[in-house]
């Protein structure tokens, strides 16, 4: 067997084991239940009689829940799965085997990312189900507003879920990078949340400094814009589900996916730089 295949198998095994450990954690199950409950609670708004706007409201609510709880889960689960190995010293047994530290890190990342895939799929399915149910009901009551058929493009719900999952991937890789030099869970979680806020709001800084003339300030903004990924690129909810006729162009989707992959790989490699020197 070639070494690449062997390496892939080891990463797959570590990822599978990490995923198994993650789904057994109460935190994941609790967060999943809370997210579903919150999503389901959005049907409460039908009492306000918004008409077809209710569907837009539920969609925004669902996308918001996916982003909010997904970000929490991505950071905390990655941190916990990494530090469990260090604190329980299972990493010692694992790294004494013929495996590379990068394989270990990649396995941990993929396990956490697999967990996020499950979370994203469940939330997306619940959201799509709720939208379908409400839309069917509204079609029966407000038939004249649905002359062109259904308003919702359900595939877009899952496309949005996929792009959020790519974003969670970057977030998990950033968390792994912070964990690679951090000594505690708490420090990793706090710093990762700060990183999330910076990545989420970096467009404000870009806008504010866009008027700067070429100089050190402008140069600094450009560098920071490269170091911290721009999470606003993934927030395409406005163009999806109810947006323009054609939805999000395939090329744009692929570009966003590529952008996510590049940052994910970059942060995993940065994590490896630290972890390679770390004393276990």
């Amino acid at each position: 067997m070639s070494s690449a295949v062997e390496s892939f198998n080891r990463i797959r095994l570590i990822a599978g084991n990490t995923f198994l450990e993650a789904v057994r954690q109460k935190f994941f199950n609790s967060l999943l239940l809370i997210s579903i409950a919150l999503l389901a609670s959005s049907t409460f708004f039908q009492q306000f009689d918004f008409g077809t706007s209710e569907l837009k409201f539920i969609t925004d609510f669902g996308f918001g829940a996916l982003f909010f709880f997904g970000s929490i889960l991505s950071i905390t689960a990655t941190t916990q799965l990494f530090f469990n190995e260090i604190e329980n010293r299972t990493a010692l047994t694992m790294l004494a085997k013929p495996i590379y530290k990068l394989e270990f890190l990649a396995g941990k990342f993929l396990g956490a990312h697999l967990l996020m895939l499950c979370f994203t799929v469940v939330i997306s399915v619940v959201l799509a189900g709720m939208l379908f149910w409400r839309e069917t009901e509204l079609m029966a009551h407000l038939g004249d507003e649905f002359t062109g058929g259904r308003l919702i493009r359900y595939g877009d719900v899952f496309l949005f879920g996929f792009l959020q999952w790519m974003k969670f991937g970057i977030l998990a890789a950033i968390t792994l990078f912070v964990a690679s030099f951090s000594n505690t869970n708490l420090y990793t979680i706090v710093v990762s949340f700060f990183m999330l806020i910076i990545c989420q709001l970096q467009y404000i800084a870009r806008d504010a400094y866009s008027s700067l003339e070429v100089g050190i300030g402008s140069w600094l903004v450009q560098v920071l814009g490269l170091v911290f990924p721009n999470f606003q690129l993934f927030n395409v909810g406005e163009q999806l589900v109810f947006g323009v006729e054609s939805g999000l162009p395939v090329v744009t989707t692929l570009q966003i996916t590529g952008y996510g992959l590049v940052y994910t790989v970059a942060f995993i490699l940065l994590a490896q730089l630290n972890f390679g020197r770390r004393e276990i």
């Binding site: 329980n88 010293r89 790294l95 004494a96 085997k97 495996i99 276990i280």
Partner: protein
């Protein structure tokens, strides 16, 4: 000349301590050579550098100075670790897996071929005496059982070198004796075993050679018999001697130019006494059970 299992030359490890990075020397210019198919004991008090040395051998730590090789390969390489099995001190494993699943998982990580994996897993589980408990979750295991399943995961890819860090720490004498039996069996199978311990009595009869570390430095090294024997004296163990006979023996010794230093009753070690008593009771209980089983 065969390649030694482990060759350590001038190994030094410094740890940076505190914000100012003050250096703490954990291992200081260590030279060691462990031959193939040898049981080698790395002895020393807590903090003497045993675990640090083991971690460097396993590539988990980088040496500050010096070299370390496993069967001729630099020890920090993945290639070198293919021939190594490791049982860490006070091992902790994935609690949600059963013993068999755990050993199987590590077998797959180590690249044991699919066709032989079941056979290999069953074989090591049997070797460590965990067949009956292999289906139970690791979280329910006692300390001794954890050590044994830990040994199984260390052996599952059939490594030539087995490294055991404090394998009997926190284990009762029965468990420690069982681990010692497994180590002897491994030697019979041609393996090299490096074990570290500060429980000297437990490994005295087990190791071919030992090295004693203190504050990271090698204090003594050699064959156990040579290190512990008193070269100036001989001992005679006599049975059924009367008081008169004793006087006659003493006189004969004097006549031959010797000196009788002391007369004492041979003593069993507390470990041996404990093991004998427990084994005796276990054996009689089993025979009673067998008789009752036969009668019913």
């Amino acid at each position: 000349m065969t390649t030694p299992a482990i060759r350590i030359q001038g190994l030094t490890k410094d740890f940076a301590v505190g914000m100012r990075g003050v250096k703490l020397r954990a291992v200081d210019g260590l030279d060691l050579e462990i031959a193939d198919n040898e049981i080698f004991g790395l002895l020393g008090p807590n903090g003497s550098g045993k675990s640090t040395t083991i971690k460097i051998i396993l590539g988990l730590l980088d040496a500050s100075k010096g070299q370390c090789g496993i069967y001729g390969k630099p020890s920090h390489t993945v290639e070198a670790r293919k021939s190594v099995g490791f049982l860490p001190e006070a091992p902790y494993f994935y609690r949600y897996l059963s013993g068999r699943e755990l050993v199987r998982f590590y077998a797959r990580v180590c690249g044991v071929p699919r066709v032989s994996i079941n056979e290999q897993v069953d074989s090591v589980i049997e070797l460590v005496g965990m067949t009956e408990a292999a289906h139970r979750r690791v979280g329910t295991y006692s300390k001794g059982m954890l050590q044994r399943i830990g040994l199984a995961q260390a052996l599952v890819h059939d490594p030539q070198l087995v490294i055991l860090d404090e394998p009997t720490a926190g284990v009762d004498p029965l468990g420690a004796a069982a681990i010692a039996d497994i180590v002897r069996e491994l030697k019979l199978r041609g393996k090299t075993i490096l074990l570290s311990s500060h429980l000297l009595a437990q490994i005295e009869g087990l190791c071919d050679r030992v090295a004693i570390l203190h504050r990271g430095k090698l204090v003594r090294e050699g064959r156990v018999d040579e290190l512990v024997e008193d070269g100036q004296a001989e001992s005679l163990v006599v049975e059924g001697l009367t008081a008169e006979g004793m006087v006659a023996v003493e006189k004969a010794i004097c006549e031959q130019g010797g000196t009788l230093r002391r007369v004492e009753k041979p003593r069993l070690s507390l470990d041996t006494l404990f093991l004998n008593e427990v084994k005796q009771r276990e054996a009689s209980r089993q025979s009673i059970d067998a008789e009752e089983g036969g009668a019913s």
